[in-house]
């Protein structure tokens, strides 16, 4: 099997979307393009409510991913776990499909458990070695404010997890709503987030939560590799320019 590049979008939110296209449709669109969408609901004292929970579950289902609802303290470990499990799942599906081609109609379920254990070992290794690109989408609408320090820590923490993998990993971080667009790129594609960025300052505080449009814009991030160099500017960390620091601060939390 070829070494695959796995692509994921991870949405971190605390409530329902209320602007633009349906996030469930956006997630389905992402899945169509080979991008898995995972969702984590962060709750504090208040509950998400039935509607919020349902939306989170629906987004993950449409995006072929997983979801969880956690307290801010559990965010970091949940980010790592969901990502890994979703990866395993994707690889498992691919392996299963290939097996079906070899074995005829019966996929992995028709193999004896002993054989399946071996397949699981293989899936595990593939998961470790494959390339992984993740865009983390952080909801920064007003109610998220008290949870943002946990999110900030989780971002840094996630970068450590990615860095510990054998395979190549990259991550990018965006926040929604953005100032002009639905999504602001806070951390462009990087292999390691060196430190926890200041997330609390410079926030576009508003009641708008455009989860759907943000997912759609995040899909575009995965296409930048194919873009000519001149168009990549928006996503590239221009650390060669002296005055880029000021500009970067705009981008970074």
């Amino acid at each position: 099997m070829k070494e695959a590049t796995l692509r994921q979008i991870l949405v971190v939110t605390d409530g329902c979307s209320n602007s633009g296209m349906s996030p469930v449709a956006a997630a389905a669109l992402a899945r169509e393009q080979g991008i898995t969408v995972n969702v984590i609901g962060v709750i504090d004292k208040s509950e998400l409510g039935e509607k919020g929970e349902k939306e989170i579950r629906d987004i993950a289902e449409a995006g072929g991913g997983l979801c969880d609802i956690v307290f801010p303290q559990q965010l970091a470990q949940t980010v790592q776990m969901l990502t890994r499990k979703a990866m395993t799942r994707t690889i498992h599906q691919v392996v299963n499909k290939e097996l079906k081609e070899i074995l005829g109609d019966s996929g992995i379920e028709e193999l004896a458990p002993d054989k399946r254990v071996q397949v699981a070992g293989m899936v595990d290794e593939l998961g470790e070695k494959s390339s992984l690109n993740v865009v983390m989408l952080v909801d920064t609408s007003g109610s998220m404010k008290p949870k943002l320090s946990a999110v900030q820590q989780a971002i840094h923490d996630f970068s450590i997890s990615l860095h510990s993998r054998s395979g190549q990993s990259r991550m990018a971080v965006g926040s929604f709503p953005g100032k002009q667009k639905h999504l602001d790129i806070r951390i462009p594609w990087t292999e390691k987030v060196e430190q926890a960025h200041q997330i609390t300052s410079d926030l576009a505080m508003s009641g708008i939560t455009p989860t759907g449009p943000a997912i759609v814009e995040a899909i575009a991030l995965f296409e930048q590799d194919k873009l000519p160099r001149s168009l990549q500017e928006r996503y590239i960390d221009q650390d060669e320019e002296d005055d880029s620091n000021g500009m970067l601060r705009d981008h970074v939390f």
Partner: protein, 313 residues
């Protein structure tokens, strides 16, 4: 622990029979929930076993894979022995499960609460022996925490349970708990190395010794091992172990065996110290001289030790 609503583990029927190996199980009660599935106490042919059922078959199979790989040794007492891997059908859908030896006992934190903190060091020494076996098989445990360590009721033996975090050396740790995670304490990354487990072991030793109150009050943000050193300095029970603990925090041990040896040395000293006093009182006149000179040597050693530690801390 997490308020998860990932498709919950399907309710098991009271009786079920494996699809492939045809073993029949009678479900007695739920034992606990892990990140990958739910564990039930069952009886199979009159023998009690623990059965783990998960939502995603692949996660369960991965656990079986490591359980199998770590059980090639004959006298492996690292975790529960694997008994069966099979499918059961719930609501027309096949679910993968595995059956293992049922370890009757208490979780390490409960055990310490019940038996007292004197046991912490003893249990850590035992745990390190188990970890050493696992490491020699090329795996680390990963998600080390008191909840994943069992003290068996009958022979007071430490066994590891929940192999969901067990990771091949060199890979990224599969599962962890922030409180015991090296990266969370800003003391390294999450690559599966022997030192990753040893770090968690050291944090666990601190955590179990000081109790929940002190633990919670002493932790600040961001977490750094300096906070742990502060706790150690203030605790009479932990202070003698400061050297091996610090070494574990800084990844200075190459093997679990090394750390075990150093903990054991301190443990022997501290155990020896108490009864010795009583012995001295009972000694006859003829032994007094030897006793005093011995005491002199001991105090010299103690002084040298203190100076060394003062420098070390």
């Amino acid at each position: 622990m997490t308020m998860s609503f990932k498709a919950a583990t399907p309710d098991l029927p009271k009786h079920f029979t494996g699809k492939w190996n045809k073993k029949s199980y009678h479900v007695l009660r739920e034992l606990g929930r892990g990140a990958n599935g739910t564990v039930y106490l069952v009886s199979q042919g009159g023998v009690q076993r623990a059965v783990k059922v998960g939502v995603e078959g692949i996660d369960i199979l991965m656990e079986v894979n490591v359980l199998k790989s770590t059980q090639q040794g004959r006298d492996s007492k690292v975790g529960p022995l694997l008994c069966d891997v099979d499918d059961l059908v719930v609501n027309g859908k096949a679910c993968t499960f595995y059956a293992m030896e049922y370890l009757q006992g208490l979780q390490l934190d409960e055990y310490i609460k019940q038996e007292g903190t004197d046991w912490v060091a003893v249990m850590m020494v035992q745990l390190l022996a188990r970890l050493d076996v696992l490491h020699q098989h090329g795996y680390i445990f990963g998600d080390l925490k008191p909840q994943n360590v069992m003290v068996t009721q009958t022979d007071k033996q430490v066994r590891l349970i929940d192999f969901g975090g067990v990771t091949k050396l060199g890979n990224a740790v599969r599962q962890f708990t922030e409180e015991y995670d090296r990266a969370f304490w800003h003391a390294g990354d999450r690559r599966a190395e022997v030192s990753y487990d040893l770090f968690s072991t050291a944090v666990m030793m601190v955590r179990l010794t000081v109790g929940t109150e002190t633990w919670k009050n002493s932790l600040g943000d961001p977490r750094h091992t300096i906070l742990l050193c502060d706790i150690i300095r203030k605790s009479d029970s932990l202070y003698p172990y400061r050297e091996p603990l610090l070494k574990a925090f800084h990844g200075k041990f190459a093997t679990a065996k090394e750390m075990r040896a150093e903990l054991l040395a301190v443990l022997r000293d501290s155990m020896g110290a108490k009864p010795q006093k009583k012995q001295k009182k009972a000694r006859t006149k003829g032994n007094v001289g030897a006793g005093i000179s011995g005491l002199f040597v001991a105090s010299l050693l103690l002084l040298a030790g203190t100076l060394y530690y003062a420098w070390f801390m």
